[in-house]
């Protein structure tokens, strides 16, 4: 249970970190909170000759409004997000999702960038990013670019980031108006990764019709997914006409790659997913209706 030997680098800036990645090539890996990477190193599921620690890179930390979005620096710790009033006000879904991540000891070190880059399909932040149509800012030796969340998650633990590319931060669009947000998940024990879960964001018009909505699904594919068919079916409809159970079923109907393992067969996960959507929908609509 000990990681293989590696060399340790502690750059002070994003430019230096990216420079190190470029010169060291695929033998190097970024280290943020270490709450996913270090277990993988300890289990020797991963071996790298160089770790590039981001702990001194101040420019990766912060939470601020930028135009219509909330920017959260990749190096911002989950515990800081949990305690942030700015996050509660501008990105309630991110605020609700955070306490569901592991335990407080994990959130004291784990970062938002690490969670997104690690890209576990059952993790909360990737699903939140996908639900809110977030944009991910990245930098490589070829410059900076912005990657939409819809294109970011490409497979089990893999993303659109190149090997020499660093995640700078995530931009979460702020939903204004009569909005509601909810996340629901089923985990065997508190703090475990969820067997399946769902996120819902909904905005109502003044006649209590669905102006827009987004449904995220976690743990139900090799990547986080959207329940697009259910979203399309709900938009424009009055909320009292919509049956949350039906929305749940529609949201999971398109899934064709539901994971199965010792903890749960695919069919069970799918049913749990539908129920989580239904509960999250109910809560989100209630909250929006109060607005």
């Amino acid at each position: 249970m000990k990681p293989a030997p590696f060399d340790y680098h502690v750059p002070e800036s994003v430019d230096d970190a990216v420079g190190l990645l470029a010169s060291l090539g695929d033998t190097a890996k970024l280290l943020a909170g270490g709450q996913s990477l270090v277990p993988m190193l300890a289990l020797r599921l991963a071996v790298f000759e160089h770790l590039v620690d981001l702990r001194r890179v101040e420019e990766l930390r912060g939470i601020e409004r930028r135009n219509g979005s909330l920017w959260v620096g990749a190096g911002t710790r989950q515990a800081v997000i949990e305690a942030s009033d700015e996050v509660r006000a501008a990105a309630p879904l991110l605020a609700q999702a955070t306490p569901l991540i592991g335990h407080f000891q994990i959130r004291n070190r784990g970062t938002v960038g690490g969670s997104l880059a690690h890209a576990d399909s059952a993790a909360e932040y990737p699903a939140v990013a996908l639900t809110l149509d977030a944009e991910l800012e990245a930098q490589s030796p070829r410059g900076r670019r912005t990657i939409p969340a819809t294109e970011f998650f490409t497979g089990v633990w893999s993303t659109a980031l190149d090997e020499d590319e660093l995640l700078l931060g995530v931009l979460l669009p702020v939903w204004e108006g009569r909005c509601g947000f909810a996340i629901e998940e089923l985990a065997r024990r508190h703090g475990d990764f969820a067997l399946a879960g769902a996120t819902v964001a909904v905005e109502l018009d003044c006649d209590d019709r669905v102006a827009r909505c987004a449904i995220g699904l976690l743990g139900l594919d090799s990547v986080p997914r959207r329940g697009s068919a259910a979203e399309t079916a709900a938009v424009g409809r009055a909320i009292h006409e919509l049956d949350p159970q039906e929305i749940g079923r529609a949201a999971v109907a398109e899934l064709d790659n539901v994971p199965a393992d010792l903890h749960a067969p695919a069919d069970y996960r799918r049913r749990v997913g539908a129920e989580m959507v239904s509960r999250a929908w109910t809560r989100a609509v209630e909250e929006a209706g109060r607005g």
Partner: protein, 160 residues
């Protein structure tokens, strides 16, 4: 693979050493500082036996490399109390049968110490949530729960 010089304050004392980058903070504390109160169960972040405070935050010392703690202030179970001078949390664990073999206890005590500092008046749900990151394989959790309740109540009584 070059060793790295680190200086870490452990329980108030500066400790300087040359470490392999792959050395975890847990192994640094146990082997380089001789502080064997920090226990290692799973060594991959699941059990919480290795919990210590780094700059006041409860963290898994098996998921932190010693090189990452350069310049930090680390508190281990040895810094929280002494055999003849138990901390209030330690005393509550003893009084309420919060331990049996004691293997998980340092991790619990460190976690609970940080938890009660941040939640001085916790509900039962909050206590369960706060304990969820530590596993005990022999005592059973009811005694631990009772110990945390008692420690919280005791702290409330002394601060008035």
């Amino acid at each position: 693979m070059a060793d790295v010089e680190v200086e870490i304050r452990v329980n108030g004392q500066p400790r300087r050493a040359s470490v392999e980058p792959r050395r975890t903070l847990a192994d640094f504390l146990r082997e380089q500082c001789g502080l064997t109160g920090t226990h290692l169960g799973c060594e991959h972040g699941v059990c919480g036996a290795c919990t210590v405070l780094v700059d006041g935050d409860a963290v898994r010392s098996c998921l932190v490399f010693a090189v990452q703690a350069e310049g930090a202030e680390v508190t281990t179970i040895e810094g929280i109390g002494a055999p003849d001078e138990l901390s209030p949390v330690q005393a509550a664990f003893r009084d309420h049968h919060g331990l049996q073999c004691g293997f998980c206890t340092p991790g619990f005590v460190v976690s609970v110490t940080a938890f009660l500092r941040d939640h001085p008046n916790p509900t039962d749900d909050e206590i369960r949530d706060g304990l969820s990151g530590n596993l005990c394989r022999c005592t059973g959790y009811q005694g631990i729960l009772a110990a945390v309740r008692a420690a919280a109540a005791g702290a409330q009584a002394t601060t008035g």
